[in-house]
């Protein structure tokens, strides 16, 4: 390392300047931090951080490959005790599962009502994958239903599948999600009516729930009531409360 001789005056000057810059930068950092902590919120998160979620969505969503499959496992590795988490949208005591029909709102505004029997007639796809909760835990779980892709094909929803988002809402409007179309048409996204080879339990979303392996658990809406399609972001329960809208991985 380079050695040199400096006058006391020069040492004092250099030290003072360095410390002054250090302290000033420290203050700038402190006040920027405070500014961020007190910033106006947008959907539960400080505006800058909400913008950061959107920027990350552009970056990581841009890397999303809808033909890439998530890791799957043999049925024997699926857990028997599937964790139940969250009951928003399942609390309506007047809900009648036996007379339930999926309300499909098409692009032109006309509505189609689809029964569980109708859905069960469509090609069935099973998927055993790592269900990942946003809280941090994961479980290998086994689900069965019709892929959204097959559903689109059967009901001629090509116009709908060209929209930017699909929106899903529980019958009581207590829980709702918005999904970008590339994730929706990923081959493992299913309208699910079976868990562990048997009909979905009520607390897991009977008669029909969304299982979408390329998204975190918050997007796997239980008890689908209405499905619609839109070019603007459908309302989404947890992103309204500070979470990332995209929640994809």
């Amino acid at each position: 390392m380079k050695e040199k001789t400096l006058s006391d005056k020069e040492i004092r000057w250099r030290s003072l300047t360095s410390f002054a810059v250090f302290i000033i930068c420290g203050c700038v950092a402190y006040f920027t931090w405070k500014g961020l902590r007190n910033q106006e919120k947008e959907a539960g998160a400080p505006k800058t951080l909400r913008k950061s979620f959107l920027a990350n969505e552009v970056i990581f969503g841009g890397l999303f490959n809808e033909t890439k499959l998530v890791k799957t496992y043999p049925v024997t590795e699926a857990v028997k005790q599937v964790r139940v988490n969250g009951s928003y949208g399942l609390n309506d005591p007047s809900f009648k599962p036996d007379t339930w029909k999926l309300k499909l709102v098409k692009a032109a505004g006309d509505t189609l009502f689809v029964s569980l029997d109708d859905i069960k007639k469509l090609p069935k796809t099973d998927v055993v994958f790592d269900f990942k909760c946003i809280e941090g835990w994961s479980q290998k779980t086994w689900w069965g239903g019709v892929t959204f892709k097959d559903f689109v094909k059967h009901y001629g929803l090509q116009n709908e599948a060209e929209k930017t988002y699909a929106g899903l809402v529980t019958p009581d409007k207590g829980y709702y999600v918005g999904i970008d179309m590339p994730s929706m048409i990923q081959p493992q996204t299913i309208l699910c009516y079976e868990m562990n080879g048997r009909p979905l339990p009520l607390n897991q979303g009977y008669p029909l729930r969304l299982i979408i392996p390329v998204k975190y658990g918050i997007k796997h809406l239980k008890r689908i009531g209405t499905m619609f399609f839109s070019d603007s972001r459908p309302p989404d329960y947890w992103p309204e409360r500070g979470y990332d809208y995209y929640s994809g991985h």
Partner: protein
């Protein structure tokens, strides 16, 4: 007139001081996230020996029920951490600073002698350039750990898009554990680093702000006056 040695280039000082608050925010926001599924503990005989973390710890730091907030901060500051770290690594390579930093063949044995000297067991201080052998190992390891946090972090954040990372980490749950262990590592590193900086004294500490250190005009080698092994001309 005093003799001074140019110890820390401006770039090194910037990267060092930027990293400090950024990493602190990453660890704090990481704690807000971890709380939501705080499964780790060191167990002994089937019981929790050390629980990560006790309820009182969370409450004292106002951690509970802030998962969304934690993620919002984590996924913004991760960019600052990554870019600052990347620029530091690139600088270290292209400036030649890596010669002071990377462990040498003899560093592994010498580091042990440094530890003995630091504990006042051994009187003789091993010769060194800017950093002693233990520092070379520590300051290089911390870069490897930083890279580890980025890889395990991406394996958790984007396990499908970055499935390659998730696989090399040993799976989604393994990536979580490794990410956590690295973070505990940073905390332990910080405690040792803080202690060593205090023991090294003011003249050494201020060199990380001013860039230079005044050489005490005595023949005795104190722990803050370096002996140059090579003559490199740099500003």
């Amino acid at each position: 007139m005093k003799k001074v040695v140019s110890k820390h280039p401006l770039a090194v000082r910037w990267f060092h001081w930027v990293n400090f608050p950024v990493l602190a925010v990453m660890i704090w926001s990481g704690l807000l996230i971890y709380w939501a599924n705080d499964v780790y503990a060191i167990k002994y005989g089937g019981k929790d020996f050390i629980k990560f973390f006790p309820k009182g710890f969370y409450e004292a730091l106002h951690i509970p029920f802030r998962l969304a907030e934690g993620m919002a901060y984590h996924f913004f500051f991760m960019w600052l951490f990554f870019i600052n770290g990347l620029l530091y690594v690139l600088y270290t390579i292209f400036s030649g600073e890596w010669r002071y930093l990377l462990p040498q063949k003899k560093s592994w044995r010498e580091a042990w002698l440094v530890v003995l000297h630091d504990l006042r067991i051994r009187k003789v201080k091993p010769p060194q350039t800017k950093y002693n052998a233990a520092q070379r190992i520590a300051y290089t390891s911390i870069i490897v750990m930083g890279l580890g946090s980025v890889i395990t972090g991406l394996a958790i954040y984007q396990p499908v898009t970055f499935s390659f990372f998730t696989t090399i980490c040993g799976g989604y749950e393994a990536a979580h554990l490794e990410h956590f262990i690295l973070t505990i590592g940073y905390c332990l590193f910080f405690l040792v680093h803080l202690a060593q900086v205090i023991f090294a004294g003011w003249r050494n500490f201020q060199s990380m702000i001013t860039g230079f250190e005044i050489i005490k005009p005595t023949a005795e080698t104190t722990d803050s006056s370096p002996s140059a092994e090579t003559n490199t001309s740099r500003s």
